[in-house]
Amino acid sequence: MPEIKTDDVYIELGKHPKAGFATDDMILQMGPQHPSTHGVLRIECVTDGEIIKKATCHIGYLHRCFEKHAENVMWQGVIPFTDRMDYLASMGQNFSYVITVEKLMGIEVPERAEYMRVITAELQRIASHLMAYGTYGMDIGAFTPFLWAFREREYVLDLFEKLCGARLLYNYMWIGGVSHDVYDGFAEECMSFLDTFERVVFEEFNPILTYNKIFIERTANVGILSPELAIDYGITGPCLRGSGVDWDLRRDDPYSIYDRFDFEVITGKGEMGTVGDCWDRFMVRVLEMIESVKIIRQALQQMPEGPIMNEKIKKVIRVPAGRVYGRTEAPRGELGYYLISDGKGRGPNRLKARSPCFSNLSVLEEISRGCMLADLIAIIGSLDIVLGCVDR
């Protein structure tokens, strides 16, 4: 595809080289209040009719300067802020932060707490991917799968509410353990949910949306992201795996106790079109939910008895001086926290969050060039961004 320069785009009226009569490109401000930008994202599209010549992202509408906040609260006070980063996958965000702090403090977490963390993080991955499934269907124009996905997601949120008292912003994983032990019957409820969920994915979600011909036509061969481009742009998570790169931090850079579980890393195979198109990214998410189900099943069976908090953790947490970068596979990709402690303050001296959505969104300009307006919506949806995570 030829490189489009700004000079070409803002070409003088009436002097378009390819047209015999006066034409001009239209600049379309998509957002910040647009139904399909998944929050407050503004995309400045230079369009030729319905064809996008250039789509520039303008982010920051949801910027709260979380990193500055984190410098002014206690170590455990950062956790509620991490919840609010990616508000659809709060457990994953908590997980990443607490294991980074624990790495810096050099403490161990009780076995039971590790299992609880894995179970909740994987349940959260299911909930988050369900949301991605539903909103993607809605971007393409199907409304019903959205509410069905929400129905299943509600069951996960119900489990979380019973477990820790909150439905969306959990503050569940604490430094040194987890805040609540499981209630009686959690394992049974979880298992029964997983059984119905697996059935629902294969009997309802896949036939109605994933293998619908219109949906395939809309998403296959659209927004192709080659593996080299994906790695170059720092794309992680399902988007990277959708491009066929076999990379999952849970397996390749294991943290917590993920090395004890047996699961597959799903990659895009170009089943309906080219490897790395929107359909592949979507399908990776659908199949990852099934892999998460496997992990939760194993974890529930293996979960030992014991304490859920490290006894050495005091009410006022002291962290030794040092720097550490911890990363986990959050539902949307590699979530990293770079923490600097000076050993004196009550909170982090500097916290940098490397959010997956931030890097994932940056590729939009590259892969949306030359597509149609409807395809742009499909591409944004398939990248599955959360603006709270992009803007922090």
Binding site: G60, D232, Y233, R323, Y325, G336, R350, F358, S359, R392
Partner: protein
């Protein structure tokens, strides 16, 4: 993907870098948890290109690019690199003075650095020379100051609107 035999320890990578670049690689303490290899500011782009393209290093992915307010005088830009082919990691750190915070861009090496550098510029005020799209990213274009600096004072008014949260009146 993982090829264990190529994994290099941080010491080996450090030695290799010292051999190729000599003095621009600063003396670094490699004993601490996650050691940072110090680099001279002007040579960061070259070192990055070397790290990415050298066959037995292959640092294809830039995990994270952070800017740090080090002390009164200095800022630091920290690069977390990771090789998907060989599964080894390195952390580079570049220290630059606050009053002349300029550093060559690495967005030509890893394109993910594009937005991360814009963020570092926006929030910490590090200027990246040669960056293709050097604008603020998160704050509005006409915002004053760089919020993540420790000495940052929030501006009183922005486009005629008061910025700081109004102080509660004691009843």
């Amino acid at each position: 993907m993982v090829q264990g035999e190529f994994v290099m320890t941080i010491e080996e990578i450090y030695k290799k870098l010292r051999k190729s670049f000599g003095g621009t690689i600063l003396e670094s303490d490699l004993e601490v948890l996650e050691p940072v290899v110090g680099i001279e500011p002007q040579s960061i782009a070259e070192v990055s290109g070397f790290l990415k393209n050298e066959p037995d290093l292959k640092f294809t992915s830039l995990m994270c690019l952070s800017s740090v307010d080090l002390d009164e005088e200095n800022l630091q830009v920290v690069y977390h690199l990771h090789s998907m082919d060989h599964n080894h990691k390195i952390i580079l750190g570049v220290i630059i003075p606050k009053n002349a915070a300029k550093i060559p861009t690495v967005s030509g090496v890893w394109r993910t650095a594009n937005w991360h550098e814009r963020e570092a510029f926006d929030l910490m005020g590090v200027e990246f020379e040669g960056h293709p799209d050097h604008r603020r990213i998160l704050c509005p274009d006409d915002w004053e100051g760089h919020p993540l600096r420790k000495d940052y004072v929030v501006q009183e008014m922005y486009n005629g609107l008061p910025v700081p949260y109004p102080k509660e009146e004691d009843d």
